[in-house]
């Protein structure tokens, strides 16, 4: 290392090269080609009939799946971004997490000419087809039943109960008492936050994700929620979406 570092006065290390001016020399100033021609490129043999049929079958199957209810459309925002990703964070960031936040005001608004475009599935539609439930783990069953499953019913029942309780409370208690009760509830929430978190989150997502189709469990149009007394949203305000896992 030490001996080599000093440049000799004669030349840059190459044999027979001097520092003298050479008028005939030409500088290669062109940038190198990004995709130089392949040195050993051969044209593949033409496809046989069998291969063509296989390709045809494959394409047909693909398009059938894509038209079916189980396919979910890509939401990747930038197709030209490098395909290589390092780590999960970067991988996950490629995809849109919240369709409302990533709404494109120029193309996102549906126009009349788009009425014939195929519908975009955010999540697969599971309600339209029969499933053999015993093959699925139990925790997936609600998803198979569509959102009109147990959770929704539970939610409705709970809302009704609350409504009844509130109405009963309105009758014999003063508004001050009600205020105190809400405050009490607010303070008691963090204790059982973990238990309710999953439930909570799901409800919240159902409202955001399913875009008010028939599977949705009510969302904005659920009149019952106006009688919820705001209790269910107390965490939603603090949560601010699903980006705060860590």
């Amino acid at each position: 290392m030490a001996g080599r570092g000093r440049g000799r006065p004669g030349g840059g290390g190459l044999k027979g090269v001097t520092w003298e001016y050479d008028p005939s020399i030409k500088l290669e100033s062109k940038p190198i080609e990004l995709f130089p021609p392949h040195p050993n490129l051969k044209r593949p043999a033409p496809f046989t009939d069998k291969e063509k049929r296989e390709i045809g079958h494959y394409k047909r199957l693909q398009s059938q799946v894509h038209r079916g209810p189980l396919y979910t459309q890509p939401t990747k925002r930038d197709a030209t971004a490098p395909a290589k990703t390092f780590g999960e964070d970067q991988f996950n960031r490629q995809y849109s997490t919240n369709p409302k936040a990533d709404f494109d005001p120029f193309t996102g608004v549906e126009t009349y000419s788009q009425r014939l475009q195929p519908k975009v599935n955010e999540i697969p539609k599971l309600s339209g087809r029969p499933f053999n439930k015993e093959l699925f783990p139990k925790e997936l069953w609600p998803a198979l039943e569509g959102e009109a499953g147990k959770d929704v019913r539970k939610h409705l029942v709970r809302a009704n109960e609350k409504k009844a309780a509130m109405m009963a409370g309105m009758k014999d208690k003063k508004p001050n008492d009600k205020h105190a009760r809400v405050l009490e509830k607010l303070f008691s929430v963090p204790a059982d936050e973990d238990a309710e978190e999953a439930d909570e989150e799901q409800e919240q997502d159902a409202e955001v994700d399913s875009n008010f189709d028939d599977e949705s469990m009510g969302g904005d149009y659920d009149a019952e929620q106006y009688f919820d007394n705001g209790e269910d949203n107390s965490e939603g305000e603090g949560g601010g979406g699903d980006d705060n896992y860590d």
């Binding site: 063509k52 390709i55 396919y71 197709a79 087809r129 499933f131 053999n132 799901q202 994700d209 896992y245």
Partner: protein
């Protein structure tokens, strides 16, 4: 599958390509992280549990994940099934197999199973009935339309096949046939347990039941292992489709019986055009039975067609047809290509399944002209014109027969096969048969008749149906083809007995090895030139070689050899081992041994193929995005079933054709790469 980076990437892309983004994101994380629960999945993918549940439901439905419920912790773990994901790329091939063998209906069934992952017999039948009704309605509509235009155009309507009177029976028959062949398999709930989980479960049970919880010593350990293996084996054979007794009597045996004959005719002729009539043989499947595509069996079928293609390129198309028929005979008893060490007993394997010449002749399709494809003399002695004369004369054929008998009596001495080798028959016999049509047939006839007179013992063994002469003649020809196959350098067949005019078996491992070697050689030749190819082959044959010996053996200059070897070492194809001759480890007193590790090279090769396939899919995606506006036009809901010519202008049509060509070439390339993957991994 090895969980290399490129394999993971490819699987993720395949799932993305087929089932969309949500499933693919979940699947990728499962592949990368191993088994996970829903909360963990949600943490890693940043998707809501609600979405994850939906995605997982799709993945389970399509058999892409295993799941396992842990009772102790009350959680469900999900695990990716990379094999199934990879098989998505082969879906086109599998549908094509079903179509070429059992007709369009079978292809549709298999296609439908690919769409739905798995479904019950009931669903399949109702789907088919609905589809038939739809087609019928459409036909009527068109008929009415045609009649409205011009009153007497009844003809096109009549040409179309009328709807089957008993679609349910037809469907059940077809499904039974597919189940018999093994292309589809019944599905049970425990198949969603991953192989490792199944093993653990069985191991735990066995340990508890047989040994009361703990074992001592290596002997008991071995015993336990054996018992687990037996149980797993039993479990697997329990899952397999077993045909009912009645069914087997009806058309299980193809070789004889009225029903068998009709079936054979159907397979050979009807299957090609697809509108054949199905007899409703009264077989009814349990309507609640679940079925799905059996990938393992499909691989076996693909391997057979690959071997037939090899035979076709090495020997000739007729021989390949005979070979394919033979392979199909033993296909029934081969459920999978590679044995699972944990399940199959590798110690006392039988000699593989065999077929006899007689069986083969009986099942061979009539459309295969066995008389063609083989020259009758050693080709280097006589030119074609002389050959023609000689074959016509009695003397010539007698001579040939005499030689033929000799070879038949001996067991497998392949040196004196009376038939020309591959090169000979391609150059001489084929043009002959092409130009003269039936001529070679006549030749063969006279030839073999005389042989019958000469051989009395031979005649006695045969059953004598009405077309006995023709059949014997055919059998001899088939036998010649089989001898040719056995005599080839690749050892397509091995003779293992003399029952039924010769009993044959196939050594699949040897064949696969041969295929692998051929592909590897091609790769080496392309990448490292003649010298590199030669060096690698030498090392493969001779083992580890000293650096000093190599140039002498390979007949290249030492400098060239060294450069080449260094280049190959960089690519990971060859490697070096140092053996010092003294403790000083000086370079001068060290032996450098070069070696070529076949297994390692095939792993590297496989990985680069995965990478190549991923790149193809990515390129496909980019190309599609470039012409998104045109493609979106074809996807419009009102134009789905219309011809693009009707609504596109010229420029758009050109773009569409361009992208279709690109798609085809990329997908075709992927299909060919998949063939390589199959050779190195699956066969």
């Amino acid at each position: 599958m090895s969980q290399s980076k490129h394999a993971v990437e490819l699987c993720a892309l395949l799932v993305d390509e087929t089932y969309g983004e949500l499933t693919s994101r979940i699947f990728t994380i499962l592949l990368r992280r191993g088994r996970l629960t829903i909360p963990l999945l949600s943490k890693h993918t940043r998707l809501s549990p609600h979405k994850i549940r939906h995605g997982l439901a799709v993945l389970v439905q399509e058999n892409l994940v295993y799941h396992c419920f842990d009772e102790d912790t009350n959680t469900t773990h999900y695990e990716a099934n990379p094999e199934a994901a990879y098989m998505l790329v082969r879906s086109g091939k599998i549908v094509e197999i079903a179509r070429s063998r059992y007709g369009d209906l079978a292809a549709e069934i298999v296609g439908n199973l690919f769409l739905s992952g798995h479904s019950t017999v009931k669903e399949l039948v109702s789907w088919y009935v609905a589809r038939l009704a739809e087609a019928e309605a459409k036909r009527k509509r068109e008929e009415r339309l045609a009649n409205g235009l011009n009153g007497q155009s009844k003809a096109p309507a009549l040409v179309q096949a009328p709807a089957h009177p008993f679609p349910t029976g037809q469907m059940h028959g077809m499904l039974t046939e597919l189940l018999e062949s093994g292309l589809i398999q019944p599905l049970s709930g425990d198949m969603f347990l991953s192989p490792t989980d199944t093993y653990d479960k069985i191991a735990k049970e066995t340990l508890k039941e047989e040994y009361g919880g703990n074992i001592k010593g290596t002997k008991q350990k071995e015993e336990l292992k054996e018992k687990i293996r037996e149980r797993l084996y039993a479990l697997r054979s329990e899952r397999e489709w077993k045909s009912k007794g009645k069914k087997r009597a009806l058309n299980g045996n193809h070789a004889n019986g009225v029903n068998g004959a009709s079936k054979r005719r159907r397979l050979s002729n009807g299957a090609v055009n697809g509108d054949h009539y199905f007899e409703d043989d009264g077989t009814k499947l349990d309507p609640n039975m679940l079925v799905r595509v059996n990938y393992e069996k499909c691989t076996v079928v693909l391997r057979n067609s690959r071997l037939a293609a090899l035979a076709s390129s090495r020997i000739g198309s007729t021989t390949a047809q005979v070979y394919e028929a033979g392979l199909r005979l033993i296909e029934k008893s081969i459920p999978r290509c590679r044995l699972d060490l944990r399940i199959d007993d590798i110690k006392d394997l039988p000699d593989g399944s065999t077929f006899t010449t007689m069986e083969l002749t009986a099942t061979l399709s009539k459309s295969v002209k066995t008389g063609t494809g083989i020259g009758t003399v050693s080709s280097d002695k006589i030119d074609t014109r002389k050959l023609e004369k000689a074959r016509k004369s009695r003397k010539r054929s007698d001579e040939a027969e005499a030689e033929g008998e000799a070879s038949e009596d001996e067991d497998v001495s392949m040196e004196d096969i009376p038939i020309a080798n591959g090169n000979g028959n391609i150059s001489e016999a084929d043009p002959d048969s092409d130009s003269h049509g039936d001529d070679p047939f006549d030749d063969e006839d006279t030839r073999t008749k005389s042989s019958r007179r000469a051989k009395v013992t031979f005649q006695d063994q045969l059953p004598k149906p009405e077309a006995a002469e023709n059949r014997e003649n055919r059998m001899l020809q088939v036998k010649n083809h089989l001898l040719l196959l056995a005599g080839d350098d690749c050892d397509f067949l091995r003779k293992c007995g003399s029952r039924g005019l010769g009993e044959w078996t196939v050594d699949f491992e040897g064949m696969t090895q041969y295929l692998q070697e051929v592909e590897m050689d091609t790769m080496l030749l392309e990448n490292f030139g003649k010298v590199g190819h030669r060096l690698a082959r030498m090392m493969r044959k001779l083992g580890k070689l000293d650096e000093k010996q190599l140039p002498n053996l390979a007949l290249v200059k030492q400098k060239d050899a060294r450069t080449k070897l260094a280049e190959m070492q960089m690519a990971g194809v060859v490697d070096i081992q140092e053996v010092p001759r003294d403790s000083g480890r000086t370079t001068g007193r060290t032996i450098f041994l070069w070696y070529f590790d076949v297994e390692r090279v095939s792993t590297i090769l496989l990985d680069s193929i995965y990478k190549n396939m991923s790149r193809c899919f990515q390129r496909l995606d980019i190309e599609r995005r470039r012409v998104q506006d045109v493609l979106a036009l074809t996807e419009r809901t009102d134009l789905l079933d219309e011809q693009p010519e009707k609504y596109m202008d010229q420029e758009q049509l050109n773009t569409l054709h361009e992208i279709e060509d690109k798609e085809e070439s990329l997908l075709g390339h992927i299909g060919r790469l998949d063939e390589l993957v199959a050779i190195f991994r699956d066969y």
